[in-house]
């Protein structure tokens, strides 16, 4: 097979396989007539009716707000705590046992506790819960990123008399940024999962709540539509972060490409 036909076949497969999967799903659901598995076309119609955009404001906006607030708090705290810990060996020795304990704790085990402790099943509890578990990937990656800074860079900064906040802002933070983004990607997908979990446990609004209610009332097409929506949300948020990362880290990738040559 020549190179060109190989490429053509690869592109054809890239398009054909997903289409084939969707067609097979539709064909199977039409043939099975199982109410638990409504037709793909029914799910898509339901999806359009529910989410574009009649219930968007009622349930999607609260969910997105919780993700954004929780993730934002985790990002700020993760960087603010991570940079000093990355720079200080004793700081790490003191903080690491606590960080290791909480990062190893399975999040759902703290769901009932978060409600008791915060006296809330509203945004306060949901955002705090999301923020708490999104913190650890960002924090640990910031610490690692700061520790991994080229010592020459730090020595150069010192010989230029750069110290304190100036050094953090101009040397430490940018140098750790690629790794911070790696942590952000993990945290963002965690944020979607935590959003579903908190809304599924006890709540009065949000996509997870719709999922729970439609299951309890055996409204299967809306349930499937909610599952599809959560998948789409996860995919789009991840895509958004990749675009931001490309933009923010353009200097970094350019620099790496330049030194690689």
């Amino acid at each position: 097979m020549s190179r060109r036909t190989y490429h053509a076949a690869a592109i054809a497969a890239e398009i054909a396989v997903p289409v084939a999967i969707l067609l097979a799903w539709q064909a199977w659901t039409v043939q099975a007539q199982d109410p638990k598995f409504p037709r793909l076309s029914t799910i898509l119609v339901e999806f359009r009716q529910m989410w574009l955009f009649s219930q968007f404001e009622l349930h999607v906006v609260p969910s997105l707000t919780r993700i954004a607030a929780g993730f934002g708090i985790a990002l700020v705290l993760g960087i603010l705590l991570g940079i000093p810990l990355g720079l200080s060996r004793w700081g790490r020795i003191i903080a690491m046992p606590h960080i290791e304990w909480w990062r190893a704790m399975p999040p759902p085990a703290l769901l009932p506790i978060s409600i008791v402790l915060l006296h809330s099943i509203e945004n306060r509890q949901k955002i705090a819960f999301i923020a708490f578990f999104c913190l650890f990937p960002i924090l640990l990656n910031t610490i690692d990123g700061v520790r991994g800074i080229d010592p020459t860079l730090m020595e150069t900064a010192r010989s230029y008399g750069m110290r304190g906040f100036e050094r953090t802002r101009r040397i430490v933070f940018p140098a750790a940024l690629p790794q911070i983004f790696a942590g952000m990607r993990t945290s963002l997908s965690l944020a979607v999962i935590m959003m579903v979990l908190t809304e599924y446990f006890s709540s009065t609004s949000g996509v997870g709540y719709v999922l729970l209610i439609s299951k309890n009332t055996l409204q299967l097409a809306p349930m499937w539509a909610a599952i599809v929506l959560i998948g789409v949300l996860g995919y789009l948020l991840n895509l958004l972060l990749i675009l931001v990362e490309r933009r923010v880290l353009a200097w970094h990738r350019g620099w790496r490409a330049a030194t690689a040559q």
């Binding site: 190989y6 076949a9 690869a10 592109i11 497969a13 890239e14 054909a16 396989v17 997903p18 999967i21 638990k36 720079l87 200080s88 060996r89 004793w90 020795i93 003191i94 903080a95 690491m96 046992p97 606590h98 290791e100 304990w101 990062r103 190893a104 704790m105 399975p106 999040p107 759902p108 085990a109 703290l110 769901l111 009932p112 506790i113 008791v116 402790l117 006296h119 997908s189 979607v192 999962i193 579903v196 979990l197 599924y200 446990f201 997870g208 999922l211 729970l212 439609s214 299951k215 055996l218 299967l220 349930m223 499937w224 909610a226 599952i227 959560i230 998948g231 996860g234 995919y235 991840n238």
Partner: protein, 280 residues
Amino acid sequence: MAAPDLASTVAVAGRTRPTFATTAGRVAPFVVTVLSIAAGLLVWELVSRSGLISEDDLPAMTTTFNELWSMIHTREFWVAFGETVRGWALGLGIATLLAVPSGILLGSSEFANRALRVPVEFLRPIPSAALIPLLFLTLGTTLKSEVFLATFGAFWPLLVQTIYGVRDVDPVALDTARSFGVGRFERLYRIKLPSAFPYIATGLRISSAVSLILAFTAELFMGTGGLGQIMNVAESFGLTVQVYAIALATGFLGLAIYVLFAAFERWALRWHPSQRAAAA
């Protein structure tokens, strides 16, 4: 920060007899770690006892450990503990059996990778928690549901790590083997698998945590037997101390799994430069 680092580097390079200073340099971090943990527990005790947070909402540290102590003398606790471990192990095991071969296939064959890229990229970010209602209706509140959920969650990190690992094989080593007439299968298990092994070990560490989270999630939300289920029962009866004690037990289980798999990862990576630098 620089001073102790320098001292330990010199000591390693010189391989001198351990003097008082180097011994202290090694013991001090350990002592500080222990003190830090003790301080954390003390703060917990004081915050609760002083009423800063009411004892109804946050039982004191000693109360919680006492509760855990009496719980571990009951059979019910160990049955639940065993069920959670079983769900975790089955989920991780099945995910490994599925993800590693798929990862090798997708990593070795550019064609297979291109063909399956879009479905994989769409399925991977689906939070497995979203599948709970569906499992409720199809597999019911059974071990099967729990294992399916844990497997689904644990599958993706392992798949991605295996693909990266197989792709990261040194092309020179592969070409050399090929020019010596080493067959496809032998290349796979003598070159590709060993060089992908550290990546798979990292994937196993991530997936071991994910599998536990989802096994517990299934128990908490669907009522399949295990620690999550007894936590749900304790919560609905308003037994706050018990809820805290079960969370503590779950935390210890999570920590044990993390320590075990992190050690395995370090062992798998022992030849890797990043680990040698950290060990020194």
